[in-house]
């Protein structure tokens, strides 16, 4: 438990005498960077959605309080104003709060990686800190884990992270569908040696692990049975690493994978494997439903409705039934096990409620059947409805005799007309046609989004004002992850997912790895050149990409060449400044080139790539010669390499006329080299005269 109330600086100094160590800091990422809770998140950020009638963020904050955290930075993006307002009004902003909560909003954060880079710039972090997302529900005390982490750091200076993993059986309801990862641990099951994100649960493609892994560790433990809630104890060295690798988005797929794959970093990551206690993360509607059940079933004790975290008045009665004060139940209404009912709710005659979570001030009519449904506040449900396993948000109005199938989502303020049948794939919202909104009539169906979930997702692509984040590689989970995005909350009973949802994978995996590497490397390098990042960053970047894609150096050269040429071409306006631009660029990138050229054949290949890139370009020949000269002067290419390239062009496989044209531009230079070569060989009487002299 934290020494609470460390707000004012005067007070702080007083308390510091007792606790000389610095504050324990935590960073909450209160944005999911995905759209799995659409359309609900159009109007309210995910972390403020009620989970068992308490906003999700409360659970996370309580969890941090339990962990003894003393300062919290809450990073948010979508609906940041609502989050700020909420925190301001909550008990966490009072003097008595165990920690100070600083809400940080930045329009630029689109992923976990952005948050970390932001964090690096802000220099708020001085010690190791706790990194969680804003949707954690856990009753595990972090204090022991922190102690372990600190002790480990004394032994292993390279330890930069301890991840908290919960062991869990494969078919568990609280396990997010379609998000699996293979964790390779050392023999003591402490150090994480390798992390591999598994795109499909039933992947047919073989999993390839780096060879060095087996060499260095004769005994390993390969485990997939973890629930990874992304609760990490992170070293202060980590945010700078994200800055270096500016395309890292995901804390697992990018960061963890990258850091472990690349020996250059020499960093180690450890796992704390929980065998008891609860740790869940609301990643999707399916986990929302599962964790909601876990809460009512008291798995998350003490964070259950009857703890009244948020100034409520819930009382527990047998059978996991929670009722707040002032619930009006008709005499013939039946409340079955695992139900939660908020204050001011009235339930009509002969209505059956089983396993449902109902918010405050709801009006539920007569003869209604509510099975495992989630109703938020102020929902009105007409008579004779049958509703199961769906989410109905605040102020929604459901007419008499409606049937709502499992999996449906009725967003804020939607009115459903009498006798409607709503399929499980339905997502109703008012938001996209807000202009035509009419006063909700009980008889009128607001039928704004009747499309199926996949169509819904597509239709939303271009309107991103309210979006949690824009699309396109900025997902916390990339497109492939979206198979679970809209998995129905009801489908956790099914062991398999419907086949159609897997199309996404096939597409991505068919794209050859080399191509994807080339694209990524090209983009990142070009970006780095344009923003004139330091060459070290580029090297790290490129290395990370190479490692993760397992690309060959030849690919690296191709990508680098392409990027460099695209970078310099627009700059070259005349013959005069050609060599100047080229010299400057290559001088800058010298270390980068040094790391990808090892043999004569590499030099020749590099030149060939340059040549190919320059095909059809204005002043191609001149540029080619300038580059060649510069490379020669900087000792990146020697005589042999250049001649090898030259002769290859003359060789039988030949080249297209355009390529020849480029090559011809360097004739003078090559001639000069040839002369040099002859002189050199005569003088030194070198024994390694190669066959390229035959072609002179």
């Amino acid at each position: 438990m934290a020494p609470p109330s460390k707000r004012g600086s005067a007070k702080k100094s007083g308390l510091l005498e007792e606790a000389p160590e610095s504050l324990l800091q935590a960073v909450i990422i209160a944005d999911s960077f995905n759209r799995r809770f659409r359309p609900l998140t159009l109007e309210k950020p995910r972390c403020l959605l009620p989970l068992a009638n308490t906003p999700i963020i409360e659970y996370t904050l309580e969890f941090l309080a339990l962990g003894g955290v003393e300062e919290v930075f809450l990073y948010c993006h979508a609906h940041h104003d609502m989050i700020t307002e909420y925190i301001k009004e909550s008990k966490w902003s009072r003097e008595s709060s165990p920690f100070t909560v600083n809400v940080v909003y930045s329009p630029s954060i689109m992923s976990v990686g952005d948050v970390m880079r932001e964090l690096d710039q802000s220099r708020l972090i001085k010690e190791d800190f706790i990194l969680v997302s804003g949707d954690i529900v856990s009753n595990v005390s972090l204090q022991g884990i922190l102690k372990e982490h600190k002790a480990r750091k004394l032994v292993d200076k390279n330890c930069i992270m301890t991840s908290v993993l919960r062991e869990i059986s494969p078919g568990h309801r609280s396990r997010p569908r379609g998000e699996n990862a293979l964790v390779v641990l050392d023999q003591n099951r402490q150090r994480i040696l390798h992390y591999e994100y598994l795109k499909q649960s039933d992947s047919e493609s073989a999993l390839v692990l780096p060879r060095e892994l087996g060499k260095a560790n004769p005994t390993m433990s390969l485990q997939e049975n973890f629930l990874d809630c992304c609760i990490d104890i992170v070293s202060f060295e980590v945010p700078p690493l994200f800055t270096e690798n500016f395309d890292w988005q995901h804390s697992r797929k990018d960061f963890l994978h990258g850091i472990l794959m690349d020996e250059l970093y020499g960093k180690t990551v450890y796992a704390h494997i929980l065998k008891s206690g609860y740790a869940g993360r609301i990643q999707s509607l399916q986990t929302y439903d599962a964790i909601s059940q876990d809460i009512t079933h008291k798995w998350t004790y003490p964070f259950c409705p009857d703890t009244n975290l948020n100034q409520q008045t819930y009382k527990y009665t047998r059978g996991h039934i929670y009722k707040e004060a002032k619930v009006i139940l008709a005499q013939s209404a039946v409340i079955k096990d695992n139900s939660t009912i908020g204050a001011g709710t009235s339930v009509g005659d002969r209505t059956i409620i089983a396993g449902a979570t109902i918010g405050r001030n709801c009006m539920i009519g007569k003869n209604v059947q509510l099975f495992s449904a989630t109703l938020w506040d102020n929902v009105v449900i007409g008579d004779n409805c049958s509703i199961s396993k769906c989410i109905i948000a605040n102020d929604a109005l459901i007419g008499d005799g409606c049937t709502i199938e499992p999996g449906a989502i009725i967003s804020f303020g939607v009115t459903v007309e009498k006798g409607a049948y709503i399929p499980g794939t339905a997502r109703y919202t008012k938001i996209s046609t807000a202009k035509e909104r009419e006063p909700g009539k009980f008889t009128k169906i607001v039928h704004l989004k009747t499309k199926t979930l996949n169509e819904y997702e597509d239709s939303e692509d271009d309107e991103d004002e309210q979006a949690e984040t824009s699309r396109g590689g900025l997902y916390l989970y990339d497109d492939d992850g979206s198979e679970s995005d809209y998995s129905d909350i009801s489908d956790f009973d099914d062991e398999e997912l419907p086949g159609k949802k897997k199309k996404g994978h096939a597409r991505t995996s068919s794209e050859s790895e080399a191509d994807s590497f080339f694209r990524e490397a090209y983009n990142s390098l070009l970006g780095a050149l344009k923003q004139s990042h330091s060459v070290d960053i580029m090297i790290l970047e490129l290395n990370g990409l190479r490692m993760s894609a397992n690309a060959e150096f030849s690919e690296v050269r191709r990508a680098t060449t392409a990027a460099v040429i695209s970078y310099i071409l627009p700059k070259i306006s005349s013959n005069e400044n050609t060599s100047k631009v080229i010299d400057a660029t290559i001088e800058k990138l010298l270390p980068l080139f040094n790391r990808m050229i090892f043999e004569v054949s590499d030099q020749a290949e590099l030149l060939r790539f340059i040549q190919k890139e320059l095909v059809g370009k204005e002043r191609g020949g001149i540029i080619m010669q300038a580059i060649g000269m510069k490379l020669y002067n900087e000792d990146l290419c020697d005589d042999e390499g250049i001649l090898a390239w030259w002769n290859e062009g003359n060789g039988p496989q030949g080249e297209t006329p355009e390529m020849t044209k480029v090559r011809e531009g360097t004739r003078a230079f090559v001639k000069w080299i040839e002369e040099q070569e002859e002189e050199g060989s005569e003088e030194e009487d070198s024994e390694d005269e190669e066959d390229d002299e035959d072609d002179e």
Binding site: P4, L15, S96, P98, R166, P170, P302, T313, K315, H320
Partner: protein, 492 residues
Amino acid sequence: MVVADEYPPALAKFLRVVNTVKADDATEILIGLLKRREINSSRNVAKAVAKLLLRFVSQNRHTKLSESAGLIKDVRELGRYLVAAQPRELVIGNIVRRVLGVIREESHESGVLPGFADLTLGGRLSRASSVGDESADFGSNPGSGTATPHSGRPFSRDGGEEDIDAMSRRKSKAYIPPNLRNLTRQGSIALPNPSYGENNLQHALFSLLMNSAPLPNDSPGLKPESREPFEDKDIRGDVIEGIRELMDELEMVDEQVAAHSETHIHANEIVMVLGSSVTLQAFLMRAAIKRKFTVVMIETYPNDYLETQEVLKAPSKFTTTIPVKQSGKGSSAKDELVTTAELKATLTSIGVETILIPDSAVPAVMSRVNKVLMGSHVILRNGSMITIAGAKTVARCAQEHSIPVVVVSGVYKLSPRYPFDPDSMLETGESSTIVGWEDGEMVGGAEIFNPTMDFVPGELVDHYITNVGGYTPQNLYKLVEEQYGTVIDNLE
């Protein structure tokens, strides 16, 4: 003697910071701790609440004798707030009521006649207008203070504070000699008991005399400005002293309870023990110094079994050389968790045979046992109690075999509440102590309940041993009155 001197970290930290923050903040901090269950045993909750009240009283703006009603009101509000935050920790209410009792006592001792207060004005005020303008009321009904002696208790519930205040204000005019004060104090305690009826009548008459004299010219005296300063003394120091005494009591309670052990545990007895409370522990250890007896420990799976084993292996100054004597018949059940040798060390080292049995073996072993000892979570006014889950089964089984059930507990756990709805007082704990959460099939497929508390009706308990002596369940109400006086505040 095994006494847990070191606090759990959450409590230790709370006790440290409570003096550095404002009382309101400290309240919120404590509520946070209670909700997160970082402080959860009765003893620790009691200590934390007492400390908080100490802080609260020392910061309260009401310090003067004349303001004691305001202080009582504030403390009661705080009590309600705390109780609402964690309604299942009944000990919170106990401590708050005890402190309220301290404040009342202080204001009485400073010169107010408590018997009159409760009997006459309290009664009249609560009947006439319980929250109304008391001064007006006060002046208009000078003679109606003739409450009947036996009606003192029922209506003294709400009127208590207002009239004390009024009384204390009036006190500034009317001096009462110390011997009379004493007399009335006794009277107030004796009030509810019919056998003291005569006594009460006497007081009632006395009060009539006392009241009627100063009343007519009392109205100006109600204004605080007109009060003589030397009469309106500062009671804060005394109240704080009283709270400190309460805190000392919490510290010493184990010793005091243990002092009774020799009269309850006899030579060569076989004692069945349920629970792992420190009080119980101290009790057994003390008895073991003089007596030779056998202890049958019940495991209390799943919620407390580790604690139970902890009790047995807790390091003690006696554990130095003595070899392990006996391995119990039921002790194999959890051998993998803790070695038998370790388990036996503490009690066996001073000559106590200790046998650990699983909960299921209780009915089988019961016939061989002389006595059942339990700790408690809270004791209720009607003699029933709430304690760790499984206790009711054990008590019921003991009743079947006519084995006496003895409960050891500090008196601070005695609550004046009546269990109208025992279920609402019971805590249901985390399901994962029964089935691991990682087990997907069970989590999805089974309904799992883990009640951590049991309600044991008074009929199943034979004797309560507290730090103020032994009581039968039927006589507990007397103890309630001794502890809380006649004014029982409604904090729920």
